[in-house]
């Protein structure tokens, strides 16, 4: 047992070329820079975090609130600057730590805007805090020459590759459902809407294309990290990465996610690959000076990384602890790499009753929410419950009572006929928000 552990430890501490990590740092920083600029130019700082009068906070993070408008803009400006600092590698550890904290703070303000790739950015930036991505080709290595190194322990490279592998493989496993594999859902809904795309658009009116792309997508997710790991298939696999993600960028409204994945998967190329490419492009990279030596990390650091991956491996599986179809109940749906699995729509209204009289109100959420918030909450049970609590608080003063709040819901998942999502007889004002399985959600028929 000890010998086995020892062997792994030696393997994880084998010296490897730092170049892939440096490239990852630079492309990550640049991508985040453009992403932040894009976010601000689109007016989303105001639309997402300033204009709404109510925010759907995450369970356990109710204390997180948006700051005043000027501060929100300041945060995004700082994030933009930090992205550049990460790319050029100046005060790297502080930059990436600050980036992680600020970015994650913004993401935790409102679950309306939850996107898998934002979560990816958060967890990768957390992981990057532990990695020595700044020890070559960076301002830090210029300012502090003692940190310069040509080699890093292999676990640093492997940890990023493992993170990418987790994302892809869990996304692939999540696709192994009857909806995706047997009914080509939701691609059969989304693809025909793209039939006017030049050159290949005509294909999307054909159902077999939706099936082929569903199966191809699942196969891609489940296998691509392994084809990228294997040197012989790596170039072709990366070409597949580019084609796959560019296609998703063209067909679906998924923002920078495709580019994040195209950039991130560069981590699968090792130093030898990059030096070969540089040589082909007639770029003279400085030769590696220091001789390889055994590197070791601080035990605390390694413990942190081990815990991080335990979390990453277990978190996406938690939906198995909940009864019912998690695509319907949303229990365990987020933070699990469930990407592009559902087309869901809903209509929600609330009936608020004064238990001491016949007084009642019927409230439509759009009176308080932005269109995007209203759309997202209309089919997500936990958000419907959260908003019921908001209404209970609001109408408490209106009626001078403890109002009862009932939700009238009608939700459709992946072409199924709409049905109630929330039991209309349950007083949601008395239903606590928790992570235990919900009894107030109507099972999918």
């Amino acid at each position: 047992m000890f010998a086995w552990f020892n062997r792994i430890s030696i393997q994880l501490n084998q010296p490897v070329d730092i170049l892939p990590l440096v490239i990852f740092r630079v492309v990550f920083g640049l991508l985040m820079f453009f992403s932040m600029i894009r976010f601000m130019l689109k007016g989303w700082v105001s639309e997402f975090y300033i204009e709404p009068i109510y925010h759907f906070t995450y369970f356990g993070f109710d204390w997180i609130r948006p700051l005043p408008p000027t501060s929100m803009y300041a945060i995004f400006s700082v994030l933009t600057i930090l992205s550049v600092m990460i790319a050029i590698g100046i005060f790297y550890r502080l930059s990436i730590l600050s980036f992680f904290l600020l970015f994650t703070y913004v993401e935790l303000i409102d679950k309306t805007y939850y996107l898998n790739h934002y979560y990816f950015v958060s967890v990768v930036s957390l992981l990057m805090i532990t990695l020595p991505l700044h020890r070559k080709y960076s301002m830090d290595s210029y300012l502090f020459p003692r940190i310069r190194t040509d080699y890093v322990a292999s676990w640093t490279l492997l940890s990023l590759r493992l993170m990418l592998t987790i994302v892809y493989v869990y996304a692939g496993i999540a696709k192994l459902t009857p909806d995706w594999m047997l009914n080509a859902l939701p691609l059969r809904i989304w693809l025909p809407a793209n039939a006017e795309v030049p050159i290949i658009g005509w294909l999307f009116d054909h159902l077999w294309v939706a099936y082929l792309m569903s199966w191809g997508g699942a196969f891609y997710d489940l296998t691509i990290p392994f084809f990228l790991l294997w040197r012989r298939t790596r170039p072709l696999a990366y070409l597949a990465v580019i084609i796959f993600h560019i296609m998703t960028a063209l067909l679906f409204n998924i923002g920078v996610f495709p580019y994040v994945m195209i950039a991130s998967t560069l981590i699968f190329f090792d130093g030898q690959d990059w030096r070969w490419l540089a040589n082909k492009c007639r770029i003279n990279l400085p030769p590696i000076n220091s001789s390889p030596k055994r590197l070791s990390a601080h035990p605390l650091m390694l413990t942190f990384v081990a815990l991080f991956f335990a979390w990453q491996l277990l978190m996406p599986l938690r939906h198995w602890l909940y009864p019912g179809n998690h695509l319907w109940t949303n229990e365990g749906y987020r933070f699990a790499w469930h990407v592009m699995l559902v087309e869901k729509n809903g209509t929600v209204s609330y009936r608020i009753e004064d238990p001491n009289s016949d007084d009642f109100w019927i409230v439509y959420p759009d009176a308080y929410l932005t269109p995007q918030q209203e759309h997202q909450m209309s089919f997500q049970a936990d958000m419907i419950l959260q908003f019921a609590h908001f209404l209970a608080d609001k109408y408490q003063s209106e009626c001078g009572c403890n109002p009862e709040v009932y939700a009238d819901t009608y939700v459709s998942l992946n072409l199924r006929m709409g049905q109630a999502l929330i039991d209309p007889t349950i007083n949601l004002a008395n239903t606590s928000i928790s992570s235990i399985p919900s009894t107030w959600i109507v099972p999918l028929e």
Partner: protein
């Protein structure tokens, strides 16, 4: 081992191929969505706006006639023109796209700001077309005109006050101005909104985005009819106590007609007015079904049921909410059913984008 694997692979490919061929036979035609969108504009949206503009022209003319010869007969003609214009407006209200909202907003802001209108009239401000154009939306438009010409003593108030008459006439003319501008906006190749609609305000994948934009507006009009048109007078935001004064058209007693016109406008947006493929045809093409029946048929049945339920409100809505509450409640429930069908089932079939921010596909 390798031989077995190759055989298994070959069998798998053949089986999957047969499956895909079977699948393909289910859906093998194509649908010209660009033609659908262009047809929507040329055959439905533009004709409806043209009709509205014609009614607005009649309204403006009858207002001037009444101003020149204020008699009960000319007032009745003016009131009749107002009702026709209001119904024509009800038909176009579904097309409240963001970029035409500056025009739509000038047409029917409910309720009018009576206090300010009276101040304007009392101040004896010389009102002309330019001033009318610059007035705030709650000081003009159909709702304001309704207030001025439908009150019981309208004829005496108008004939006894030159400023009131001039105000009435100016805002009637202003309605025509806005209606004419909307026709220009929806005329293709005129650099107006119609061209922008086809390119979905420059959004990528414009066809998909334009269909989403139209669907969102269709949902919005049903939401308004349900929650504001019927829910508010029924008292659903007021402890369940009815609010007769909050109906769409309290002076002309034509609230029901306006609500019906809104549903008819929705129906025309859904089915189209002419030969071009419509949203209903598109749903048929997609094979959209509900409980084994074509979704387009189910939606049309619901539209019909909703209009019948609204038509069943025989008294003016402001009276019916108190005296025939059950009938109004039935109409509300019908519009809510139609709304659910469109906002949930139809949207699920079309994969509508609510806003154009990034998403996870969920």
């Amino acid at each position: 081992m390798t031989h077995s694997f190759s055989r298994l692979l070959a069998i798998t490919i053949v089986v999957l191929g047969i499956f895909l061929v079977q699948v393909e036979s289910i859906q093998s035609q194509t649908f010209d969505r660009e033609a659908m969108l262009e047809g929507m504009i040329t055959e439905t949206i533009l004709p409806l706006h043209t009709t509205f503009a014609e009614q607005a022209t009649t309204l403006s003319t009858t207002a001037l006639d009444f101003q020149a010869d204020p008699t009960p007969e000319t007032l009745a003609t003016l009131q009749s023109a107002w009702v026709e214009t209001s119904i024509a407006y009800g038909h176009i209200e579904v097309y409240r796209f963001r970029r035409v909202m500056p025009f739509i907003n000038q047409l029917n802001s409910i309720p009018p700001n009576i206090e300010f209108i009276e101040i304007y009239i009392d101040d004896n401000v010389s009102i002309d077309a330019n001033l009318a154009a610059s007035l705030g939306s709650q000081l003009k438009g159909l709702a304001t005109l309704e207030y001025l010409i439908f009150t019981d003593d309208a004829i005496s108030l108008l004939t006894g006050n030159e400023a009131r008459m001039a105000y009435m006439s100016a805002i009637a003319t202003d309605i025509k101005r806005v209606a004419d501008e909307l026709v220009v906006q929806w005329t293709l190749d005129a650099g107006g909104y119609g061209d922008r609609f086809l390119s979905a305000d420059g959004e990528p994948n414009s066809v998909r985005s334009s269909i989403s934009m139209l669907s969102n507006e269709m949902i919005a009009i049903l939401e308004d009819v349900t929650s504001i048109g019927l829910g508010v007078p029924l008292g659903y935001e007021n402890r369940g106590e009815v609010q007769p004064a909050r109906v769409y058209a309290p002076y002309s007693n034509t609230t029901r007609d306006r609500l019906v016109a809104n549903i008819e406008g929705f129906e025309m947006a859904f089915n189209g007015l002419d030969e071009s493929p419509s949203l209903a045809d598109y749903l048929d093409f997609l094979g959209a079904e509900l409980d084994g029946e074509a979704m387009s048929t189910v939606i049309n049945q619901n539209i019909e049921t909703t209009i019948t339920a609204l038509d069943a409100i025989e008294q003016p809505v402001q009276i019916a909410v108190s005296e025939d509450n059950e009938t109004v409640t039935i109409a509300y429930n019908n519009t809510l059913s139609l709304l659910r069908l469109v906002k949930t089932d139809m949207a699920n079939q079309l994969g509508i984008t609510v806003t154009f921010s990034d998403n996870d596909g969920d």
